[in-house]
């Protein structure tokens, strides 16, 4: 290539020609030397990431050791916020609530998603394409909209549940305090089953079809193919979906906070989930230091659970 093209290329990228040529020449001579070229592409992401992720986390850890006081301004208090959190009944009740939510909702959702993915992948459906897109479509709906729709549907006054009650003479109330969590679980299941289905489906579609042919020639039944080929393939994506789902449901915020005004009475308290508690502490309660301690604690709990699950599934894969 001529010098001209090189010049054009460097002009396009805004680099000085001598810089580029010196750089590549250097790279050719010193192969063992560090190759910094990747940072040319990495730095914009890294810069924003540091600004949006790293600094806020460090800052949160920092302020969680302080306390705002009526007199004397902010004061260093060490681990006082954490020890207060440790005996905070409201905090632990919210943690147990999301833990219960996770234990029940995540398996149901992932089971539905995996079943649907297997059904789609079996190619035995009439209209596979229609099913694929229609089960995924809820993902495109904002949490605000889906919660509102379901909130209207749940309404005992003029919602579908109300119509059902009028028609059958029943007295169902899905927004009653003892079933409210299940009602929220249903909204989440509706929103995210399709998304998880798609992850499962994508990993199934990477299995070469010749494998199925070989198995069926060898006399494997349909169930054997599912059990021996497809389910093991799903295990890899299962680890990812489980972790994302656990993180997601421990962060539960949108649905209960949007539903708050649609639920009669005070069934959804300001400390219904850890996230709502932290939000209310810092924005209504003016206790951002305590909220920061809460957020850090939740981050640690979530990460611990996510890693425990991931480690277990990895160990299983090793076997």
């Amino acid at each position: 290539m001529s010098e001209q093209t090189l010049g054009a290329a460097s002009a396009q990228t805004g680099l000085l020609p001598e810089m580029t040529s010196r750089h590549t020449a250097q790279a050719r001579i010193n192969k063992h030397k560090a190759d910094w070229r990747g940072w040319k592409f990495m730095w914009p992401f890294a810069l924003v990431f540091v600004f949006v992720f790293i600094i806020p986390i460090v800052y949160a850890i920092f302020i969680s050791f302080f306390k705002k006081q009526m007199i004397g301004g902010t004061k260093f208090v060490g681990f006082e916020n954490y020890s207060r959190l440790f005996v905070d009944q409201q905090f632990w009740s919210s943690v147990w609530r999301v833990a219960l939510f996770t234990i029940v909702q995540v398996p149901i959702m992932l089971f539905l998603a995996a079943a649907m993915a297997l059904a789609l992948d079996s190619m035995k459906l009439h209209g596979t394409k229609f099913f694929r897109i229609s089960t995924f479509l809820p993902y495109a709906v904002p949490a605000v909209v889906s919660t509102m729709i379901w909130g209207f549907v749940y309404g005992a006054k003029y919602g579908l549940v109300g119509s059902f009650n009028d028609f059958f003479g029943t007295n169902l109330d899905v927004l009653a305090p003892d079933v409210l969590l299940a009602a929220i679980g249903n909204i989440n299941t509706w929103e995210f089953t399709g998304y998880n289905m798609l992850i499962f489906y994508s990993s199934l579609s990477t299995i070469p079809h010749s494998l199925y042919e070989a198995a069926s020639i060898d006399g494997a039944s349909e169930w054997q193919i599912v059990k021996r080929i497809k389910l093991p393939e799903l295990r890899g994506s299962l680890a990812i979906t489980v972790i994302f789902s656990i993180i997601g449901s421990f962060q539960l915020f949108n649905e209960p906070s949007i539903l708050q005004n649609m639920v009669p009475g005070n069934a959804i308290t300001t400390y219904y989930t850890p996230n709502m508690y932290a939000y209310n502490l810092s924005f209504s309660g003016n206790q951002s230091n305590y909220a920061a301690a809460l957020a850090i604690t939740m981050a640690v709990i979530t990460m611990a659970i996510a890693y425990a699950v991931q480690l277990r599934s990895m160990k299983e894969q090793m076997k």
Binding site: S2, F45, I57, V144, M148, Y158, E213, A299
Partner: protein, 329 residues
């Protein structure tokens, strides 16, 4: 005839013809497959790549599809009702009057047309925020996949760790920091955090790893192309399906974001659609507030239409993009 000598009209005609031929080919394939299934049913032999369609399984899946789709139906039906009809008639039946057009007009004129403002805001946040997030994810993913630079492993560890940090752990300090710099209640407070898409980065890393052969990059470098020229002219076209997927997910994340604008924005003029709609919904429960559920529902419908259309039109891309992302686990 080479492409260079053709007029745009001729090119278009050629493209159209190619599309038509492809459509016909697909029809033929579908016909052949149906015939094969018929034969297979008779002989008892089943091709695993083309099994008999099962009605039972279809019905089971149809039940699930109804569950997924009925809220959409509810939304569309209730967007045609007046406020009075909404509270008095059956949820899945039409009202006494067909008020869809009235509702749409009222949505855009209510409170001096603030809904239009929210719509424009949302588009601004999506174009700059999600667009920027896509660009950063492409470049970052490409760097992680194609270069062995110092600090690469650290980047991995930090990013994977960051995925598991709950949003709230970030949101509160983010808000406090942004408030210190004076960025809260400006579009920047919404745009800057939207610029980071760790999922997009992960997707683009895997996609670049697979779609861009090292040999091609080496060849371009030997020919004297700079790194950026190689990136824009060689790699970007190869990455197209992954880019569409990453962009789509970034757009959904930004378009649907509720938590971030909730804490960052106080001024209704900067609200995106999600916060605006929620405010309209809550108007019914404030003292003396007028219930405008018909507007909330029609507004919700208008909010989701662009994304639904985007997903329907770009199906081919995001499905192949995700499939590539799923290869490596």
């Amino acid at each position: 005839m080479s492409a260079a000598t053709m007029t745009p009209a001729e090119l278009k005609a050629q493209e159209k013809a190619a599309k038509k031929a492809e459509k016909e080919r697909q029809k033929r394939v579908a016909r052949d497959e149906a015939a094969e299934r018929k034969r297979a049913a008779k002989t008892g032999f089943s091709n695993p790549a083309n099994p008999t369609r099962s009605i039972g399984l279809t019905i089971v899946c149809a039940i699930f599809a109804v569950y997924c789709l009925f809220p959409f139906v509810y939304l569309v039906i209730n967007a045609t009702k007046t406020q009075a009809d909404f509270t008095s008639t059956f949820g899945l039946g039409f009202g006494h009057t067909f008020a869809l057009w009235d509702n749409i007009v009222t949505v855009f004129t209510y409170q001096d047309g603030i809904f239009g403002r929210w719509f424009v805001n949302t588009i601004l946040y999506v174009v700059v925020g999600a667009g920027g997030a896509t660009l950063l994810a492409i470049m970052g993913g490409y760097a992680l996949a194609k270069f062995r630079f110092p600090g690469r492993n650290l980047c991995f560890a930090i990013i994977i760790g960051a995925i598991s940090v709950p949003g709230i752990a970030l949101a509160v300090p983010q808000f406090l920091l942004f408030a210190k710099v004076g960025l809260t209640n400006t579009p920047w407070s919404m745009i800057i955090p939207s610029l980071v898409s760790t999922f997009g980065l992960y997707l683009m890393w895997i996609f670049s790893d697979q779609a861009v052969p090292d040999e091609l990059l080496e060849a371009a470098r030997v020919d004297g192309a700079g790194e950026f020229r190689t990136f824009f002219q060689i790699s970007l076209p190869l990455l197209a399906p992954g880019i569409v997927t990453t962009a789509l997910f970034a757009i959904v994340a930004t378009w649907n974001n509720y938590f971030l604008p909730l804490i960052m924005l106080k001024d209704a003029d900067w609200y995106p659609l999600t916060i605006g709609l929620n405010q309209w919904k809550d108007q019914a429960s404030t003292a003396g507030g007028q219930a405008i559920q018909n507007l909330v529902i029609t507004g919700s419908l208008i909010t989701i239409i662009p994304l639904v259309i985007a997903f329907l039109c770009l199906q081919k891309y995001w499905q192949s993009g995700l499939a590539a992302g799923a290869v490596k686990e």
